[in-house]
């Protein structure tokens, strides 16, 4: 090897510098803000912001909504993606085309997804018209809060089932067929094959998709902003939107920083627990 690769260790430095600038410094700044009243007196207020978190009812609503949204989205997208992956993972002309079509939403910008669905659900759009004419169901997501929430979940499922499909399909295509074949020769049923051979080997993709979808759906911002704008009222306001309104629109930087610190902390802890639980403490390095 080149006389000790360590000599070239300096090649890592530019990457580290950029990361320090865009991750570490902002992180320190946000911690700092959360103990002060920046740009409105610049006073040190200690844990005042953190204490007022517990009295903020809007925050509690928003947080509960985020949790509910993430749970429902995850519980739908993962089984749906797995089911679709079973239908279309085998190489054939139709499956290739279908899997490409299913994969499209994962590559679209969140704003565009929002636009597409706003077109679909506005009062003369195809969905309300269809529901009114054929099912006699009045669908008004811009007036009815619960319908607004459900349509956002539906949009998230439309957007991200693609991702769980992509990951499961590539995992299934990469499975070693031998155990399945020998199990079948010995008379195992389809369910037994699924339960005892495929599920264990799909464990890693399953962990991964759960993690990625958890962190992405928890920080959802683009679609609700475009589709409902947080309305009607505050019925579809999510955590990122709330922090943005507080911090940037109302310029309460200190309080917004305190919330975002807690937000970051909750997400990190949840992901850490997920990784530890699902890999039994081995980490993700395999």
């Amino acid at each position: 090897m080149w006389k000790s690769l360590e000599k070239y260790g300096a090649l890592v430095v530019p990457a580290i510098l950029v990361i320090i600038f865009v991750v570490l410094l902002p992180f320190i700044a946000v911690i700092n803000y959360s103990f002060q009243t920046p740009y409105s007196g610049d006073q040190f207020v200690g844990f005042l912001h953190y204490r007022s978190l517990f009295k903020d009812e809007r925050l509690q609503d928003v947080f509960t909504r985020n949790l509910l949204f993430t749970t429902i989205a995850l519980l739908t997208e993962i089984p749906l993606g797995l089911g679709l992956a079973y239908c279309f993972y085998k190489p054939s002309k139709t499956s290739t085309i279908t899997s490409m079509i299913i994969a499209i939403p994962a590559l679209l910008p969140g704003v565009t997804i929002g636009l597409i669905w706003r077109l679909m659900i506005r009062s003369t759009g195809p969905i309300p018209v269809f529901l009114r004419n054929y099912l006699n169901y009045i669908f008004e997501p811009f007036i009815n809060p619960s319908q607004a929430f459900w349509i956002l979940i539906a949009v998230d499922i439309w957007h991200w089932t693609s991702l769980s499909f992509i990951i499961f399909a590539s995992a299934l295509a990469g499975l070693d067929p031998t155990p399945t074949l020998s199990a079948r020769t010995e008379g195992a049923t389809r369910w037994q094959i699924f339960r005892f051979i495929e599920v264990p080997s799909l464990k890693f993709p399953l962990i991964f998709i759960t993690l990625i979808r958890f962190m992405d759906s928890f920080k959802i911002y683009d679609e609700p902003t475009v589709i409902t704008g947080g309305g009607p009222g505050l019925a579809t306001e999510f955590l990122s939107m709330y922090i943005k309104r507080l911090g940037l629109d109302q310029w309460q930087l200190g309080y917004a920083s305190a919330i975002s610190m807690i937000y970051l902390f909750v997400v990190l802890i949840a992901c850490f627990i997920l990784i530890q639980l699902m890999t039994k403490g081995r980490g993700l390095s395999s």
Partner: protein, 285 residues
């Protein structure tokens, strides 16, 4: 499921198989339609006349190009140009900074592998809004606010970790013996990169570039808070068009802009489908 069991199939006879086949085609068609129709509707809206858009007709009665003409005017062109420059510069920055780092990470054994991976994940799972509060203040005082370099730098919070890890996963599959052979043959490290290593891993570099590009092209939240007039990318302009409530949203124009935003993804999907799983899992799958 629709897993066709080849042993059982022979016993069952052709009738059941035929039903199964028809059912499968119907399912395929329905699913494809579910995913295609909303996108189709946006494309149709972009070429419909105002009246058609208002009544929400599914098939345009007469072709109307006014939205696309509007889109080719200065305001939108500058947004498209900004988007292109931001995405390209993000790719270049990530490769410039990430390539050497990824090479070192893939060649040197280091103890903190597991921790580094968790730290990478923390960067990706950290809600961007947490950083934005600080970026606004930092970038204003450094003169980076509302400039393209500022946006590119802010995007590197996700791009660089993802880029490095994707590259490492490709680099690790190149045997170290090649490095050693090149060293014995008297190559310097940079010569070796230029003549042997980069040609070998160029597929990996392409995949990494694609994902960095896609992230930068589709991002909206960071861009919408860090730009106001000069450096606005297409996604932010789209958001602003959709947010105008006073005299009604120009859905036709927004749809045309929306079609522009989906072009890169659609254009490359045939090639990208093979790498999507790898890209979304940082090469861990």
């Amino acid at each position: 499921m629709f897993y066709i069991n080849s042993i059982n199939d022979k016993r069952k006879g052709t009738f059941v198989l035929k039903i199964k086949g028809i059912f499968k085609y119907m399912l395929t068609a329905t699913i494809s339609l579910l995913f295609i129709f909303p996108i189709y509707f946006m494309i149709v809206t972009s070429i419909s006349s105002k009246h058609d858009i208002e009544i929400g007709s599914l098939i345009p009665t007469n072709f109307d190009s006014s939205n696309w003409i509007e889109l080719s005017k200065g305001y939108w062109i500058s947004g498209i140009r900004n988007s292109l420059i931001i995405s390209l510069s993000s790719v270049v920055l990530t490769l410039l900074v990430g390539f050497p780092a990824a090479y070192i990470f893939s060649r040197l054994k280091f103890t903190a592998d597991k921790h580094l991976f968790f730290w990478l994940l923390t960067n990706r799972m950290a809600p961007p809004i947490c950083f934005i509060l600080a970026y606004i203040v930092m970038f204003r005082s450094l003169g980076l606010w509302d400039t393209i370099p500022g946006v590119v730098l802010a995007y590197s919070v996700f791009n660089i970790p993802i880029g490095i890890w994707l590259l490492v996963s490709f680099f690790s599959s190149v045997p170290r013996e090649i490095d050693e052979q090149a060293f014995i043959d008297g190559f310097s490290m940079f010569e070796y990169w230029k003549k042997i290593f980069i040609p070998v891993v160029k597929g990996g570099i392409a995949v990494c570039s694609f994902f960095v590009w896609m992230f930068s092209w589709t991002e909206m939240l960071i861009a919408s808070t860090l730009t106001s007039a000069k450096a606005k990318p297409l996604t932010v302009q789209l958001l602003i068009t959709l947010g105008r409530v006073g005299y009604g949203v120009q859905f036709g124009l927004a749809a045309a802009a929306g079609v522009m935003t989906i072009v890169p993804g659609l254009a490359l999907i045939y090639w990208a489908r093979l790498y999507l799983a790898k890209g979304f899992t940082f090469g861990r799958l």
